[in-house]
């Protein structure tokens, strides 16, 4: 019965070599028992029917403790996703910096953005490949994940970062930075010259708006869609300001400062400006994601943080 041989050979492919011969012999004996009971004179149809009853080779091998068929199992998956997100974020930052440098050095914006996107794509695929390899190796080696094992400790659960809650240190820092920035603007405009003066006034207005919004946030204590939109608007105005700064004739302005012909300084300023734009775009993206998320949870009838139960437990 050539078909049986083919079946048993195929099952063997999925079995660990230690068990292979033994399990194959057993399956053969079981198939023969099964066939024997069917009919005196066996046809191919009988064999097909019996093999179908036994099941597809890979599945049979798996039920006999065959090869481990998961690349990355459920224990590792959450960590895998976190590492992947970090990797992709690192790619975005790296390509963003690269793009800023290319733009500052006067590359054609279309080509520069296209190149950055291609590099981002290639880089992300490579990151994905490396991360998958590392986790597949861990999975294969069977390294235990403490937070997923049986004696996990609920007290070690990570704290939930409440994205709706205003971080007092962060906003406080922003207010301080805004105020320091405002006090510096006046001497800065005297020093920078007439060309830059309107831009500095523009920056002053943005700083005032930013500080006012921050104070309001400190007072409110929680982010809301309105405050997020206000912040997006301030960021957009910031992008407008930085974009117009990019277009200025920096070599002439710098020449006016009396530092001589400084191409390095010009490039440096341009890179800084482009990076500022990319950072602002990133911040706007984050704010939009947070708005969408808060809209999704807004309708749920959940208690607001301090539920009675947790008060009783502590």
């Amino acid at each position: 019965m050539e078909l049986i041989d083919r079946y048993i050979h195929e099952v063997g492919r999925y079995l660990p070599s230690k068990k292979r011969v033994d399990v194959q012999a057993e399956i053969r004996s079981l198939i023969e028992d099964s066939l024997e009971s069917r009919a005196e004179k066996l046809t191919e149809a009988d064999v097909v029917a019996v093999l179908k009853e036994f099941g597809p080779p890979a599945k049979v091998a798996e039920s006999y403790g065959g090869t481990h068929n998961t690349l990355i199992g459920p224990e590792y998956f959450p960590t895998f996703m976190t590492v992947l997100q970090i990797g992709v974020t690192a790619q975005i930052i790296a390509q963003g910096v690269g793009l800023a440098v290319a733009l500052a050095q006067g590359s054609n914006p279309g080509t520069a953005i296209g190149d950055a996107l291609i590099r981002f794509w290639v880089g992300t695929l490579m990151t994905l490949g490396i991360v998958v390899l590392i986790f597949a190796a861990l999975e294969r080696a069977g390294v235990a994940v403490p937070s997923q094992s049986k004696d996990w400790n609920p007290l070690t659960l990570p704290k939930i970062d409440d994205t709706e809650k205003v971080s007092r240190t962060e906003i406080g820092g922003e207010i301080a930075a805004g105020v320091i920035g405002l006090t510096l603007l006046n001497p800065l405009s005297n020093w920078a010259g007439d060309v830059l003066a309107p831009y500095i006034r523009w920056a002053g207005l943005l700083l005032v708006l930013q500080v006012l919004l921050s104070i309001y946030l400190l007072y409110k204590g929680r982010w809301q869609t309105g405050t997020r939109i206000a912040r997006i608007v301030i960021h957009l105005m910031g992008i407008g300001l930085v974009l117009s700064l990019v277009r200025l004739g920096w070599p002439t302005i710098i020449a006016g400062w009396g530092v001589g012909d400084a191409p390095g300084l010009v490039t440096g300023i341009q890179i800084g400006l482009y990076l500022t734009i990319l950072t602002l775009i990133w911040q706007i993206g984050k704010l939009i994601v947070q708005i969408v998320r808060s809209q999704r949870t807004a309708d749920l009838p959940l208690p607001n943080g301090d539920a009675n139960l947790s008060a009783k437990a502590s």
Binding site: V23, A25, E26, I27, S29, L30, E32, D33, S34, S37, E53, F54, G55, K59, V60, S63, Y64, G65
Partner: protein, 110 residues
Amino acid sequence: MNIDGLYDKLTLELRRGAIVLAALSQLAEPQYGYSLIQRLAERGMAIDQGTLYPLLRRLEDQGLLNSEWKLEGSRPRRYYVISEAGTQVLERLAAEWRGLNDVMNKLIGD
């Protein structure tokens, strides 16, 4: 998933533990895979070949069964028989089963 598919899946889960008990209960005398299937079927417990055979293997790995190859005519067959540990586990599982059976009968109403 349609209701029939769901029913099949749940039945499978429900039977999974019972099959272990059923197999252990019939292995006081050595049996080979096919003879055990027949024996269980005669007593009203029909089990898939694809389910029972690997199970015997696992129970042996866990030390609940012993096995040996025997040559009958020209045909080698693997015979399984319950081990010392298997007998102890069988007794406890059977007690558990009876308890569960009583409770379930009360819960779903006889």
